[in-house]
């Protein structure tokens, strides 16, 4: 059994898992720098606490629900609750050359970052206890099922032949849809519309974006689950998409507003990374450039559209993760090539329209389920605990009102 374990693959996947873990504190800084001073710790706390919360839930039940023995193509059983049966021997259904534990812990980091993404939408106005309860429920009732559908053995979306290499649907579309539900239920921040809530520490945000880009190499290349040529391909297209998108967003800003901004360049990079995520193990470098360039412009436009739509998605989760994820999932259906990954499929550009159709079904299902289920969970938590902080607490800021802390010594 253990002789099937590849040292190179195992080392690579473990390091990739660590890289993906690092993305969540990176996200904390990316978001933290964007909010007002009085809310920086409250914002960071949400992401940081999620690392702990979801890591534990994943080991207790989450992993089993997402990847465990299939029940009706919709969910995994609880056979692996408490990581029972998840040991040092490989599970060939998922990754034949690394210990099952390595696959599990790699997936854990995806389960961690996904709900953390949502926090950007409701930044600066949610009670900490309510946020904890909502996140726990969302992780088990939205993330785990969708992960099962797309990646689990027997999952119905996987059975349709849908291609999602590293989580365009599971991570980005699901969090984007949930973010939209959240802003509709929770409502806008006080003063939104009459004042511009500018970022208080953009250097922190750029540092966070850099960490996200760095960690994303683990996110995408690691999803090859082996230290091989496919991992290299994923690594390279990830860098190209991020680069193209950073420049195209900056260019779009330059043309519309006269100046490119650092926040725009950083957001563009993230948008490119989001879009390439599902495609990273299936497309060649030049299509990756195209995907990135498109994502920069598309997500920039989505963010501008938000102002017209009037909802307060504070840190643009819908515009970047929702729109970027949808773009990426569909682009996979266009540009996928079996020359890159024989285990994948050919896309529209190689004469196969059926993949694009399957991708569209996956997009629709993920959006619908995540949006509706998130709405239900948010409403339930709101009724039970109240989601939103009181007016005075929102004025005072989350740092003081939720955590009795001051970020910078004042």
């Amino acid at each position: 059994m253990t002789s099937q374990v590849s040292a190179g693959d195992t080392a690579f996947v473990l390091m990739a898992a660590a890289l993906v873990m690092f993305m969540t504190p990176g996200l904390a800084l990316f978001y933290g720098g964007m909010v007002r001073t009085k809310n920086v710790l409250g914002t960071i706390m949400q992401s940081f606490f999620i690392v702990a919360l979801v890591s534990v839930l994943w080991a207790l039940v989450g992993y089993s629900l997402a990847f465990g023995p299939d029940r009706g193509h919709l969910i995994g059983s609880l056979a692996w609750a408490g990581l029972r049966g998840v040991g040092q021997a490989p599970n060939p259904d998922y990754a034949a050359t690394i210990p099952h534990l390595a696959f599990m812990i790699f997936q854990a980091m995806f389960a961690v970052i996904t709900p953390a993404l949502i926090t950007g939408a409701f930044a600066e106005r949610v009670r900490f206890p309510s946020f904890v309860v909502f996140t726990a429920l969302w992780s088990l009732l939205v993330y785990a099922p969708i992960a099962h559908w797309v990646w689990g053995t027997g999952g119905w979306i996987r059975n349709l032949g849908v291609l999602d290499f590293a989580g365009g649907t599971v991570v980005h579309i699901s969090s984007g849809a949930a973010a939209l539900a959240a802003v509709l239920v929770i409502g806008a921040r006080r003063g939104y519309g009459s004042a511009v809530f500018a970022s208080h520490n953009l250097p922190l945000t750029i540092l966070g974006a850099g960490i996200l880009w760095f960690g994303w190499f683990g996110f995408n290349a690691g999803s090859a689950l082996a230290a091989n040529g496919l991992a290299c391909s994923a690594f390279v297209v990830t860098n190209l998409a991020a680069s193209a998108a950073a420049m195209s967003w900056a260019l779009a800003e330059w043309m519309r507003h006269g100046r490119p901004t650092t926040l725009g360049a950083a957001s563009g990079a993230v948008a490119g990374l989001v879009a390439i995520t599902p495609a990273s193990g299936f497309v060649a470098p030049m299509p990756a450039l195209a995907i990135g360039a498109l994502a920069g412009v598309a997500c920039y436009s989505a963010v501008q559209a938000k102002w017209r739509a009037g909802y307060d998605d504070a840190l643009d989760v819908v515009g970047i993760h929702g729109a970027g994820g949808i773009l990426g999932a569909l682009a996979t259906g266009v540009f996928a090539s079996t020359l890159i990954n024989p285990a994948g499929a050919d896309g529209l550009i190689l004469g196969n329209p059926s993949l694009l159709l399957a991708q569209a079904v996956a997009v629709g299902a993920t959006v619908a389920y995540s949006f509706v289920m998130s709405l239900v969970l948010l409403k339930a938590v709101d009724l039970a605990l109240g989601l939103r902080v009181h007016e005075e607490q929102e004025e005072m800021g989350l740092d003081l009102s939720q955590h009795s802390e001051a970020a910078y010594g004042f």
Binding site: V196, E253, H257, V303, W307, D316
Partner: protein, 112 residues
Amino acid sequence: MKKVEAIIRPERVEQVRRALEELRYPGLTLTEVKGHGKQKGVRQQWRGKEYVADMLPKVKLEIATVDEDVPAIVRAIVANARTGEEGDGKVFVMPIEDVVRVRTGEGGDDAV
């Protein structure tokens, strides 16, 4: 005894301080402040939304001094803080009723 209070551009602080060092001056207090007179604000953008930041950063210098030294101090500040553009600032001179040195308890002109 008078207090000279000057609101000047932050980038002129070093030049003003060097000029004051050449005069006999007892000391100064510096505060970072925001405000504006006739100077227009600065256009900034966030996520494509434009806004005008018109509470501009300035520096306030406060110098307590004897009456005879006031004119030279005011001249030194004005000459070194001036750029000729709107936003150069203002100098105010106001009377002080009393001064006490904390270390020794001395009062009056000797304490300034």
